[in-house]
Subunit: 424 residues, 2 copies
C-alpha cells in the first residue's frame, strides 16, 4: 500500500508526552469489574491549552454538553480530563447533567483547579445513569497517588476508555520543530489514545479520543489544527453508519517541550498539524480495524476527484456500504457494489458528486477491475489478495486532481450477533 | 397499528387492470433456469399514458438510460414494458447500451410499435452482459401467444422480476371515481408489482416496480401523482442503505375504464393519487418485509415534526440504522439507538432536523420508553411484543404537526451470509 504523503511516521503504542500524568482504574461502573475510570492531569505550572470536537448528533450526552461549556468558560485551558466507560450518560435528562457536574466538581477539588478547567467524556449504554458516588471514590483513589508520569500511566488511561474494543488504541509520533531564533530544531511529541468499535460514523466530530502534546500552542491554533486533522481522519471512518451521542476528541498541549509557540500559518504550525493528523489517522485506522466483528480493515482511496469534498464523500460512501462490507467479508471481488456506492455518494449539502461511469476506474486489492468498462481479471487471484488484514479499494473518478481516503471494516455475522443483544 | 389515513385499502395479490396483457417465462438469463423475462403490453387502441421515476445513482444502468430516452421521445406514451432479471446490465459501457437497444427493437417489432413506445428495466448482478439472443428468442415466444389478459398473466410477469426475493410482491386497489357529468361514480383499478430485497435505499427514485391502472390520465398528471407517491413510500424504504443502479418505477394508465380523464388538481386526481400511493406503500412494505435475511418488518412512524422533510428524514434515519436493525433482530428494547439515529438525521440538504432531546418521545412495540427522560418499563414485556412479524417504532419530535413513516427490516446473520458470497 502506498504511504500517505506528508504525514509523520507513527508508532502504535501509548507514550506519554511531558507535562502530563495519567492513570486508570475500576471504579465499579462496569458490572464486569473491568477498568472504567481514566484521568489525565496537567503537571506544568499553568494549564494546558485545549481544543475539542464533539458529535453533531442532536441527542448529545451530558459530558459533551458540559465539556463544551467548560471550554467556552475557560477560553481553552484545561487541568484535567476524566473519561468514564460502561455508561454513556446520554438521554438521561437534567439528572444526567447534575451527575456530570458533580463529577467535574470532585475532579476539580482533587486537582485544586476551577471546574471549568476540567473536561469529561463517557461511553457505554445510552439511557443509564452514572454511579456518581462510585466515580467520586475513584477520583479520590486516583488523584494524585494513582496518576503516573510514564507510559504505563497513559496505557492505564487508554485501557479505562475501552468498552467492546478488543484492542487498546494508541499512536505516537515525534517531530523536530524549528524555533524562530534557533537553527537547531527541537523535538516535540504528539500522542493519542482512543476507543471505539461500534456506533462509529462520526460527523463534524468523532469518537472518544484524547490527543496530548508537549508542544506549546494557543487554543485557537489547536482548534484549527484539530478541525483539519479530524476532518481528514476520524470523520472518514465508519464502522456501521451510526453516529454516536458521545463522540469527543480532546487535544491538550502542555507546552513542556522547549520550543517556541507556533504562530498560525507558520511552517511550525503546519508541522505540528501534520503530526496531529498522523496520530489521528492511526487511531482512526485502529478503530476501523477493531470494528465490532470485523476481520479486515477496508481502506478506500479516491483519486481524480473534482474537489476534496467529492473525494471524501466518495471514499466514505464506499466504506459505509453494507454490501461492499459484506463482499469484503466474503473476499468477493464484486466491484459493482463499489461502483454503486460511489455513484450514490453525496456531498455534505446533499448534492451528488461529480462522477461519470465512463471515466470511473476501480481497483480491488491491487488489481484493476473496471475502467469505464468491466476489465477481465482472475477472480481467484483477487479473492486471494482480498484475504488479508487490510483491503485496499481504489476509486479514480477521472474528473480532477483531489484525493482522499476513508476507513471501514467488513460486515460479519459476528457484528450482528454482538449487536443483537447488547443492553439486555 | 393505527391505519394510515386517506389511503385506499389494498389487497396483496396480482390483479390485472383492464387494457393490459402480461406474461413471463425463463429465457435463460439465470443459470438456475428460473423465470427471468416478463412483458406487459397495452391492448387499447392507443398507447397507455406512462410516467416513471429512476434511480438517482450516477452509475445508471443501460435500461434506466434507455427508458428515460424513450419516455422523453414518446411524450409519455407506452405500448409495452420488458423486465429482465439475473443481470443488471449496469456498468457495462457502450456494449450494454447496444444490448438494451437491440432488445427494445425486438420488443417493438413484436408489438408492432415504435421502439420509443417501449420501456425496460433489469435487475441482477452489476457488470455482466445480457444474453441478447436468448432475450430475443424469449420475446418471440412470449409475444403475443404467451401474454394473458388475466391475473395469472400479471403473476407470471411479477414472478419473472424476482431475484433473491422469497415472495412475490403485488398490491391492488379499486376506487370509485366520480365523473364530472355523472352522479354515479365508476370503478377504476390500480395494481402494482415489484421486486427488491437488497441494495434497497431508493433516493429520488426507487426499486423496480410496475404500477398499472385502467384509469385514463395524461402523462403529466401521472408523473406528478407518481412523484408524490414514490416520495411517501418507496423513498421511505431501506433494506441496507445501498442505492441501486437500476431503481425504476413505471406507472402505466390504459384508460380502459369508463371514466373521465381526471384534471390536475381535481378531486378525481387526488383520489387516483391516493390509490397509487396506497399500492406503492403496500409494495414498499412488502419489499422491506422480504429484505435479505429479514425476520421482521420495521415501521418507524414519526410525529410532531416541524415539517414533512424533517419527519421523513427522522423516520428514514431510524430504519436505516444498523444498530436499530440489529436490536430489532435481537428483540432488544435498546431505545437509545433510536434516539441516536433520530438525533443524527439529516434533511436532503445536509442540515440537521429540528430535534430537542427534552421534547423527544419514543415508543417501542406500543410501549412508551422515553419522554425527555428514560421511562420505566418492563423489558420482558416489550421484548415479547417485539417478537412479531412487524415492529412499530414511534418517534414524536414534539416540534410541530408533520408526520411520516419509513419501512425497513432487521439486520441478521442471514443477511451477512447471503451478501458475503453473491457474485462468486
Amino acid at each position: 500500500m502506498r504511504p500517505t504523503p506528508d504525514l509523520s511516521p507513527v508508532e502504535e503504542r501509548p507514550v506519554l508526552p511531558s507535562g502530563f500524568v495519567a492513570g486508570g482504574m475500576s471504579a465499579g461502573i462496569k458490572a464486569s469489574g473491568r477498568s472504567d475510570l481514566g484521568i489525565v492531569a496537567v503537571t506544568t505550572a499553568g494549564p494546558a491549552s485545549a481544543a475539542a470536537t464533539f458529535t453533531a448528533n442532536l441527542v448529545q450526552a451530558a459530558p459533551v454538553r458540559l465539556s463544551r461549556e467548560h471550554l467556552a468558560a475557560s477560553g481553552g485551558a484545561a487541568r484535567g480530563v476524566i473519561v468514564t466507560s460502561g455508561c454513556a450518560n446520554a438521554a438521561t435528562g437534567p439528572a444526567g447533567d447534575d451527575d456530570q457536574a458533580a463529577i467535574a466538581g470532585a475532579l476539580a477539588t482533587a486537582l485544586g483547579c476551577d471546574p471549568a478547567e476540567t473536561l469529561c467524556a463517557s461511553t457505554g449504554l445510552i439511557g443509564t445513569r452514572l454511579p456518581v458516588d462510585a466515580v467520586r471514590s475513584g477520583i479520590a483513589a486516583l488523584v494524585p497517588g494513582g496518576l503516573r508520569a510514564d507510559d504505563a500511566g497513559l496505557e492505564a488511561f487508554a485501557t479505562a476508555m475501552l468498552t467492546t474494543d478488543t484492542r487498546l488504541k494508541a499512536a505516537t509520533t515525534t517531530i523536530a520543530l524549528p524555533s524562530d531564533d534557533d537553527v537547531s530544531p527541537r523535538p516535540i511529541r504528539v500522542s493519542g489514545v482512543a476507543k471505539g468499535v461500534g456506533m462509529i460514523h462520526p460527523r463534524m466530530a468523532t469518537m472518544i479520543a484524547v490527543i496530548l502534546t508537549d508542544a506549546p500552542a494557543d487554543p485557537g491554533l489547536l482548534a484549527s489544527l484539530l478541525r483539519d486533522a479530524v476532518a481528514a481522519t476520524f470523520e472518514q471512518t465508519s464502522v456501521d453508519g451510526d453516529t454516536s451521542t458521545n463522540d469527543t476528541v480532546f487535544l491538550l498541549a502542555s507546552g513542556a517541550a522547549d520550543v517556541d509557540r507556533p504562530r498560525p500559518g507558520s511552517g511550525q504550525a503546519a508541522a505540528l498539524g501534520a503530526a496531529i493528523t498522523a496520530v489521528c489517522r492511526s487511531l482512526a485506522r485502529q478503530q476501523a480495524a477493531d470494528g465490532e466483528g470485523a476481520t479486515t480493515l477496508i481502506t478506500c482511496r479516491v483519486t481524480g476527484a473534482a474537489d476534496l469534498l467529492d473525494a471524501r464523500a466518495a471514499a466514505r460512501a464506499v466504506v459505509r456500504s453494507n454490501l461492499v462490507k459484506a463482499a469484503a467479508h466474503g473476499r468477493d471481488p464484486n466491484w459493482g457494489r463499489v461502483a454503486a456506492a460511489a455513484g450514490a455518494a453525496m456531498r455534505p449539502d446533499g448534492t451528488p458528486i461529480a462522477l461519470d461511469p465512463t471515466t470511473l476506474a476501480i481497483g480491488l486489492a491491487g488489481t484493476a477491475v473496471f475502467s469505464g468498462v468491466p476489465l477481465p481479471f482472475d477472480a481467484a487471484t483477487v479473492k486471494a489478495a482480498m484475504d488479508a488484514p487490510e483491503l485496499l479499494v481504489e476509486v479514480d473518478l477521472g474528473r480532477g486532481q483531489a484525493a482522499a481516503e476513508a476507513f471501514g471494516c467488513d460486515l460479519t455475522e459476528a457484528y450482528v450477533r454482538e449487536n443483537s443483544a447488547y443492553s439486555t
